[in-house]
Symmetry: C2
């Protein structure tokens, strides 16, 4: 009856489900395989109505259904028939008149559907006691008993049963066992957090699965693993690595940042990430142009960066990297390239660069609603920063036209930079936007501003030099760019340095006690200042 794979024939099955999806097909397959079905009230009615013979649970338990259904399955006989050791206790079972149950199919009332309006009484009434008991008993005895808690597993189980004359392999039973304990843990976890919330003493529970060991963490003396949040439809854990060596801890962090930076850009968006900050960001109707503009934001840092694009990547785009250039110095080496998909010729082209990781992940699936930060044995849990601005209010009252699309692009850039952060952005051509310079991660806003301005000037000078046009002070060109600050400018000297470099428009949330002095200084310099009302700190 038991072969090398530990296959065991199912003779009797107990069915008690809230979710009746797929139940009929499952029951029908079991009947075909000569399995006796035992069932509780609702489940039994459902199957009898459809013409399947089902033994009433009370003939097994020897007890009536009692107390408005609070007692249906729990009994010495039923739990014994699931729980006894088939090798050690067969004789004792026979003496006690206990016949084995080999399969338990059970799922619980969906507790997460209980709305917060329900009374405490309604809520506790919904807590299943008998179901978890039989599931846990069957899972404990997985050496002999199978337990199915997810209707999605029926087809595969039926297939295995049919292929094996009504038997299931040991491996299958042990997989089902793990799933069963995950379910009972999650179920009681949900009950606990619901009760805690009601009691005004909130708790949180997370479960993560499919852990895989990474080579190391942020540094090679730190052990690390990467897990998937259980039960979510989409996860960064599901990214597909088409080519290249294993992703590192830091690669994954940067991939998150890279996708987060392009996900709200229109076609075609491109981000260039170094140490989780975008040092390049662009949007253009033309994909190659988008990559070119993003790269040009910091061509030195772009080497060895992580780059994300938000649409299928074509050959024309990737050829920008010049991976096959005769002159090796003109080859643009990057660590990771991420996109929803790649054209075949683009993949072939990229494959020639052995160390490049090519990743597919669709930014459209990337919709994080919460953000959590571990501190020492504590957790800071928050909504993600999705609201970009309240409204655009000109504080300086010059009534100049403002380029709202450019501001929106600039806000997306500054939102993804670590604070204190400054982004300088400009509109190119008709509908292309570029991050021209950024400063980030600074304790002092003035330093961030200077970093952004210096980088912008450097980029403009390179541009002027390479176009062979008459050299002009780079500052001149900054008058068409706008400077965006993630938080309010605290002092008027912040404006002075912008003026010195030729900036004509500053965007900031506003809200400082010195706003008046800052606005006054803008007016003196003829700089337009727009308030957005929304800060974008990120740490």
């Amino acid at each position: 009856m038991v072969d090398d794979t530990g296959a065991r024939r199912i003779h009797r099955a107990l069915l008690s489900v809230s979710d009746k999806d797929g139940l009929e097909q499952m029951a029908s397959a079991l009947i075909q395989l000569d399995v006796e079905l035992i069932s509780t009230g609702g489940t039994r009615g459902f199957l009898m109505d459809r013409g399947y013979p089902v033994t009433d649970i009370s003939t097994v338990t020897g007890n009536p259904e009692a107390f408005d259904g609070r007692m249906k399955t729990i009994s010495f006989t039923l739990e014994s028939s699931i729980l006894f050791n088939r090798d050690l206790h067969a004789e004792e079972a026979a003496l006690l008149g206990i016949a084995p149950i080999d399969l338990v199919i059970c799922n619980f009332y969906p507790f997460h559907e209980i709305s917060d309006e329900k009374s405490m009484k309604d809520l506790t009434e919904r807590i299943d006691i008998g179901g978890p008991t039989m599931v846990r008993a069957a899972a404990k005895n997985a050496e002999y008993v199978a337990v199915i808690v997810d209707p999605a597993d029926y087809p595969e189980i039926v297939e295995e049963l049919e292929a094996n004359g009504g038997a299931l392999h040991r491996d299958t039973r042990f997989q089902l066992m793990r799933k069963a304990f995950r379910l009972t843990a999650d179920y009681d976890g949900l009950i606990a957090t619901t009760l805690d919330r009601r009691a005004g003493d909130p708790s949180l529970r997370f479960s993560f699965d499919h852990g895989r060991r990474l080579r190391y963490g942020e540094n090679n003396h730190q052990k690390a693993s990467f897990y998937r949040v259980s039960g979510e439809a989409s996860s960064l854990h599901d990214l597909v690595c088409l080519h290249g060596k294993e992703l590192s801890f830091n690669n994954i962090l940067d991939i998150h940042s890279a996708i987060d930076a392009v996900r709200r850009l229109k076609r075609h968006g491109c981000s260039v990430i170094k140490h989780s900050n975008p040092c390049g960001l662009a949007e253009s109707p033309d994909q190659r142009r988008s990559l070119e503009l993003a790269w040009a934001g910091d061509p030195v840092s772009a080497f060895g960066s992580i780059i994300a694009l938000n649409d299928t990547v074509g050959m024309d785009t990737v050829s920008f990297l010049s991976l096959d250039a005769e002159d090796k110095r003109s080859r643009k080496f990057i660590e990771v390239l991420i996109a929803p998909a790649f054209d075949t010729d683009a993949i072939e082209y990229l494959n020639q660069h052995k160390s490049l990781r090519i990743i597919t992940f669709d930014p459209a699936d990337f919709m994080p609603r919460h953000d959590a930060r571990f501190v020492f044995n504590g957790l800071l849990f928050q909504d993600t920063d999705e609201c970009m601005y309240r409204e655009f209010t000109e504080a300086t009252d010059f009534k100049n036209d403002i380029d709202e699309d450019l501001i929106r692009f600039g806000l997306l850039a500054v939102r993804n930079l670590k604070s204190n952060a400054i982004a300088i952005v400009r509109r190119m051509d008709r509908d292309s936007f570029q991050l021209l310079g950024m400063g980030c991660g600074q304790p002092n806003r003035l330093v961030a501003i200077r970093l952004a301005l210096d980088k912008a000037v450097e980029n403009l000078q390179k541009e002027t030099a390479s176009s062979n046009s008459i050299r002009r002070p780079a500052g001149d060109a900054l008058d068409s760019a706008i400077l965006i600050s993630d938080a309010f400018l605290p002092f008027p000297d912040n404006v002075d340095i912008c003026a010195e470099y030729g900036i004509r428009t500053i965007i900031q949330p506003g809200g400082s006690i010195r706003d008046k002095a800052v606005i006054k200084r803008c007016v003196e310099h003829g700089i337009t200042m727009i308030f957005t009302g929304i800060r974008h700190f990120r740490h």
Copy 2:
């Protein structure tokens, strides 16, 4: 029998425990209150040996203990006596001969003590089925039944029982209910993760409690809460706010960084944090000196910062902040001050500054072993970065004496800065160390180096100016400082800029393919270069 507080008299109690701590006192108190005790094998033996009368469980269940103890409690009678609704089902219970059980005292075999060497068979044998069933049944019926799962709760429960003639309030029963479901969730969670690990498919589960709503998250359009990791002895969540308004999300993040930056410093250590980076860090035998030196690392950014000290704070130290200075401009306003404790006069002095938050938390309790980062529906989990260096190897072979204590201090500074990070540190007096300049959060290491050098020079110039000595180029003074890089220097030009500013010693992990060229450049400039072998990336 039921008063306004929903108090209910306990008449019959069921006891079945693995952990027998405090059991005798509990049982004795129940007997004194005329409560009938019912118990299973081991628990009953324990109590009978000590002279307490205990009813055998099988007289209640009507069933024998069976299958080597797999079946002890589970039965229609026992679970009914816990589970029936005392108001609705009293008659039905009487007809069925079911007498109520009003209190369940139960704890499970400590599953976390199961070593990884145990066989799968031993492991599953330890999975308790009857215990969780009775605990869950009692918790569901908390309106009528109390359930105690933690021996630590016995004294308080006994006190309440004795004060109320053997009755427990509804509030107490509902608190016990929440604790019971947290236990069953954690218990099955532990089983699930243990099984998943054995199956080579690792999972992780976290639970957090005592959630409290924060005013907002990183920005005021983001909702946020702060939770405590369940069951840990020490947590940042337990910090005590002695004075000042509520802590914000960003305050808590910065407090974590501030404590993390001082916890490995000797007496007296001080960190000054802005946007989670230390812009000031110092160590000195004198506490005030430590604060002064840390402040001087970036006196502009120190305004509005979060400061941590690693020992009891005295009056002499806090008077440095000049909070009562006539000239308001010389008052040093900070957001948060953290220390293990404060002298009374120091507290009184600080209290005059209304908006200052004064926090006690002992860095000695702060020992995070793991660090986790949420990415989109995924979790990166790693050991914390604790190993500071492998060994100090002089790459340049000048055989100069090196100041190992200063290097160790510098490594602690650079470890806490966001990458790319550079720290310039110096030894003051005999045993004081100071972070003189830092660059952090940069995509380009060269920029980080320049930021650190510029800040160091600026600080030295201020020092020279204020000491009224003959002005000398600040660069000169940098020859006694050392520059530390969190990761390897990728190109020789990184060395050139250090030389230009007068740096004589560079510390870095090493490990670049261009190490040879970098070392050669150091030799050309007469700069000593030390390799540590350990990188300190932080994002």
